[in-house]
């Protein structure tokens, strides 16, 4: 998967847990919990969706890395073994 593809998956899954919001419009380093008003149940649903869709292990201790779009893209890229060009 390319970096762009991963970012699209992240944005799509954020949009699924918070359908009233537009995750594509927020800054890549913004905390999605604040920008999209996401609570702990939403975060769990987002992690479940990424885990199920991309077949990656996401330990709870890594949740903070998923809380910005840039962070999630980098984390998942690393997990998927893709070379993410900066």
């Amino acid at each position: 998967m390319t970096e762009d593809e991963i970012r699209r998956v992240v944005i799509e899954e954020l949009s699924n847990v918070a359908p009233e919001t537009d995750p594509a419009s927020i800054a890549p380093d913004e905390d999605v919990r604040e920008a999209l008003d996401i609570d702990s149940m939403d975060v769990l649903n987002y992690v479940i969706a990424l885990h199920t869709r991309l077949h990656v292990d996401i330990p709870e201790i890594d949740y903070p890395k998923l809380l910005t779009i840039a962070g999630a893209t980098a984390y998942l890229g690393h997990k998927l073994g893709s070379a993410i060009a900066q």
């Binding site: 918070a18 919990r33 609570d39 702990s40 769990l44 996401i58």
Partner: protein, 390 residues
């Protein structure tokens, strides 16, 4: 039309999910009704055959209006979607805000073959005569199913001529419902407040270990651990679990905590998780997962709205340190959990950084005192020191 909360005055039938002639069982979803809390699935309280529907989709009617007739085996038809008088029907018992005096509406004169003739209070009988309402045909919400003034006032209100609304959540309507319930609470309930800081190390460490061994779909949220601790503590403190009605406090034998769920964009609903004290943490997690999804989609069941016996509110990780709640009538208590935060704590004579959480109680002084409230909070604290037993 069942009352789905102290703040509900009317409901609009969206659709029937059963046809006349079909058998229905207690607990079946029989219809969908649009309320200020979204589209609610109405469960039936009788087992029998759906005889006749009395409302057509799109009609808005006052709470208490018969919706359908159900023939029960060996008995006269019962009105659907109204709990039998013997069953606890908390939300139905509280009188709603009286309707303004109006001319009798046709709906009030619809005779219903409801089981035994209900007892009618003298005041209700007088009012019924003045308004031209047949009191004997009403479903009583007073003690023992008696018809009281509020029932007559409800029946005499005209059904406003409005079309069906879009199913889902209307945040403006939800705000009105919250406003009505909270204003009534502050008017009627003499609240007292207590708060207790709780060391959450044991619970958070235990939860971290449990979740580390699980894949995301099986993980637990802190909210369910808190819910279970409250539910178990309530077993020893019945004065915080039940309903305050016209004739005083009625403790509930079952423990159905309402869980405050925030709606993005503003709004709040606190539907019940049934029998939380008897559920395992995994069962509670599944129930909460389902409940949050349906709350946000605007698709709750009627029992989830009128069953809560107490409310539990958790501010979550990004919340403030503590919440002093407003009791949702006719309940008599609300337990609040602030956001966990690392704070100085004295343990064994030394100051240590510990994750603390402020647990609060707002209690109804007509029912309980601060002394018992404090013991209740200490019991919740004690339970949270032994999360493996929850």
């Amino acid at each position: 039309m069942p009352s789905l909360g102290a703040d509900m005055e009317t409901g609009t039938l969206v659709e029937w999910l059963k046809n006349p002639g079909e058998p229905v069982h207690r607990g079946d979803v029989i219809a969908v009704v649009e309320t200020q809390k979204g589209a609610i699935e109405i469960e039936v309280f009788e087992t029998g055959v759906l005889d006749r529907v009395l409302l057509t989709p799109g009609v808005k009617v006052p709470v208490g209006t018969p919706m359908a007739l159900i023939s029960t085996p060996g008995g006269p038809p019962a009105t659907a979607a109204a709990p039998p008088p013997a069953a606890p029907a908390p939300a139905l018992v509280q009188p709603l805000r009286p309707s303004p005096p109006v001319a009798p509406a046709p709906i009030a004169r619809v005779g219903v073959a409801a089981g035994p003739r209900p007892h009618v209070s003298p005041a209700a009988r007088k009012l019924a005569e003045a308004r031209g309402v047949s009191a004997a045909a009403l479903t009583g919400t007073g003690p023992g199913g008696a018809v009281v003034r509020a029932d007559v006032e409800r029946a005499a209100a005209p059904p406003p001529a409005e079309g069906p609304k879009r199913a889902g959540l209307d945040l403006g309507e939800m705000r009105k419902a919250i406003a009505a319930a909270m204003a009534r609470s502050k008017r009627e309930i003499p609240h007292y407040y207590l708060s207790q800081p709780v060391d959450m190390s044991a619970t958070l460490d235990w939860l971290k270990a449990v979740n580390a061994a699980r894949q995301p779909p099986e993980r637990l949220l802190l909210a369910v651990v808190l819910l279970k601790a409250v539910a178990l503590a309530l077993e020893d403190f019945p004065e915080f679990n039940g309903f305050y009605r016209d004739d005083g406090f009625h403790p509930s034998e079952t423990i159905h905590p309402g869980t405050a769920i925030a709606i993005r964009g503003g709004g709040l609903v606190a539907p019940a998780i049934h029998d939380a004290d008897e559920k395992t943490l995994d069962e509670l997690m599944a129930a909460l997962h389902d409940l949050v999804a349906r709350t946000r989609a605007g698709r709750l069941r009627s029992s989830e709205l009128f069953d809560p016996t107490i409310t539990v509110t958790s501010l979550g990780e990004r919340g403030a340190e503590s919440v002093l709640g407003v009791i949702y009538p006719p309940q008599v208590a609300i337990v609040g959990f602030g956001a966990p935060a690392l704070r100085p704590w004295v343990a064994g004579g030394r100051i240590e950084a510990r994750p603390l959480m402020t647990v609060t109680l707002a209690g109804d002084h007509r029912v309980s005192d601060g002394h018992r409230g404090a013991l209740f909070l200490l019991e919740i604290e004690r339970r949270l020191q032994h999360p493996e037993d929850l």
